[in-house]
């Protein structure tokens, strides 16, 4: 009798849980999964958004394999990711350690200051940084001139444009990731450090032997989110360079946007978007597996 009542109670609990989850699941289904499936469906068609869709099987995927511009956009994206992900990870962890060493109002002040760019719209940030990078009268070149350096072209140079956009990307999310690391560091019991100090450990040893291993979960989260973010970088790059000069900053997302809204190849751009989705998913799984493997 008691068992029955418990089972009934559990059932009720489960039902409540499912009901609570329903809005979220419904949202994911409508706004994420159905569009992904629909994008795959469109990717099997030739469609310019105006006329009727024409089923062409995997033609768009065959075209993609031969599309040197898409391959170039993947290379640009990988370069962007290789500069962006380590920079965000290292700098935000470093800043979190520095902030942790501060106390009281000083810590609050710097925490807010570092977090501020995260609250700025990426489009606004792109516009502001375009002024800062201006080759003729930009703030950075004024500083360089004061220091006796030569003027740089930044966003107008095929070699400097991509690193320049990375700087803006890093600047935007640095504060947010710093706060994540700071929260993780604060969770580490202080007596671990005290014990290490008694054993004669220095600051570097304490960082590598205590801090870094104990913020591992946050590290995984930051690395995964940054990797995804780098593959999805669009707004600030579109505002600052529109993919130029000469495709030097045309990342995959920018190329997909170009194909969809400038060349009006909706079918082909859906195929590109679907492949990018698979790439991001595989990369994330690999990353999570590697981190989990190390933990085990």
């Amino acid at each position: 009798m008691k068992k029955k009542r418990m089972a009934k109670g559990k059932k009720k609990e489960a039902l409540t849980a499912y009901l609570m989850l329903l809005p979220d699941v419904a949202g994911l289904l409508i706004f994420v999964f159905i569009p992904i499936i629909y994008a795959f469906f469109i990717s099997l068609h030739s469609w310019n958004g105006l006329s009727e869709m024409e089923f062409i099987g995997i033609q768009n995927y065959i075209k993609m394999a031969k599309d040197s511009k898409f391959i170039n956009s993947i290379i640009v994206t990988v370069k962007y990711a290789l500069m962006y992900v380590p920079s965000v990870f290292v700098l935000s962890l470093l800043l979190a350690c520095l902030l942790h060493a501060l106390h009281g109002k000083l810590q609050s002040f710097f925490r807010t200051a570092f977090f501020l760019p995260y609250a700025i719209s990426t489009v606004i940030a792109g516009i502001v940084w375009s002024f800062i990078y201006n080759p003729m009268n930009g703030f950075l070149n004024q500083l360089l001139a004061l220091a006796g350096g030569e003027k740089q072209r930044f966003l107008a140079s095929t070699t400097q444009a991509l690193p320049s956009t990375v700087v803006v990307g890093v600047w935007l999310v640095l504060g947010y990731n710093t706060i994540l690391f700071l929260a993780a560091i604060k969770d580490i019991p202080h007596n671990y450090y005290e014990a290490a100090e008694i054993d004669g450990a220095g600051p570097i040893q304490k960082f590598f032997k205590i801090t870094l291993p104990l913020v591992k979960d946050t590290s995984v989260f930051v690395l995964v989110m940054c990797a995804i973010g780098s593959f999805q970088a669009f707004d600030q790059i579109n505002v600052m360079t529109a993919g130029g000069p000469a495709s030097a900053t045309t990342t995959s997302v920018l190329y997909i946007y170009d194909q969809a809204f400038r060349t009006f190849e909706m079918g082909y751009s859906s195929a590109l978007a679907f492949v990018l989705f698979i790439i991001i998913m595989v990369l994330t799984l690999i990353q999570m597996k590697l981190m989990k493997g190390k933990e085990d």
Partner: protein, 421 residues
Amino acid sequence: MKKRLLSIILCAAMAMPGMAVSAKDDKEELKFWVFHSDKELEFFQNCVDQYNSEQSNVEVVLEQIPWDDYNGTKMATAFASGEGPDVFLVAPGLFLKYANSDVLMPLNDYIKPEVLEDFSESSIEGVSVDDEILAIPFEMELFGLYYDKAALEEASVEVPKTWDELYEAAKALTTDSRYGFTMETVKGTHQLFEWYPFLWQTGNDIYNEDKTAAALNKEGVLNNLEIKRKMFEEGYANIKPSRGNTEIGMLCEGETAMQINGTWAISQMQNNYPEMAEQIGVAPLPVPEGGEAASVAGGWKICANANSKNAEEAAKFAVWMFGDDPARMEQWCTQTKFAFAPRQSIIDANEEVYQQGLCAEFTNNILGTEQPEKRLPAEVSTILQDMLQSAYFDTSVSLEDTVTLAEESINDFLSSYDGAL
């Protein structure tokens, strides 16, 4: 009793607007999308109000869409989801996309023959496919070389007439805080639009005569690309303009001493920089040694959505706007902004306007050298945009290789393309 009376009055008052709306609701609604603002938006609104008061079949609703969305996501997604506007504006760069998808309503039956005769032949040719008129041109924008008279005088530089002179002038006019010359640097249809005159000055065109293959790999074309690459590389041309090159502000605010810009810049100057009226001059675009003067006539066209449930009414409105009484086109081209009208009667009747200040330079020295802006399939347009980007900025690839790659890509596209060109 008083309370009751008050409630009745209040209820009646509240119902009034509803009644007004329901009267309006009897009419079918036509969505008319534009991207303009300020004085230009006001012009369209006045026209719409006039049309709504003159007939009782439909209610035209004017909607302003921001420029970027108009040419990008908003328009594309609206059509893709079957929610496109009933009446909209199209630029030559996108004309074929709509025409090849049967989105444009043929307007032949709605335009009177005597009105059609008033339009220049090339302007109607630019909006026709297989003898069907699919849009109505209502402005002709020409390009010229705008320059700062004081800057040229200070550097003892004459207004450049040839490409070589343009290079030398840009070099002489470049200072620590000002570029000698500014043109469009961002990849897009505008960059291509600006390049057409320079292509035509060399006597070449994008395709061969029967439009079966690209015909770009010519000495003149390579020379033009080389001189521009050199100006960007050496820092005499503005490598990162502070805004799009449709803005004359860059010249008026001293960012550059010379700038390629269109006829629209005249009204921009009148509205935003009236104090610069005497200081800015305009001249025909420089030509290659021994080349012929050329400009390009761009400009928007009005069209009706053939898939609209009120396609006929949409066509009637589009024709009423710019394909019937010349008054609206005249007001648009001579008062709201400055542009050449594609209708001869308007040019003839407004000699005074076309002979004022900088307009006179366009009328006397540039008008007549223009060709209509190319209407290209989006794929060819993209190939050419990539070619210009690579030619101007990617010095690691030779110009010959850049142009050859573009030619091959166009030929590859043409081999399987069966739409209009």
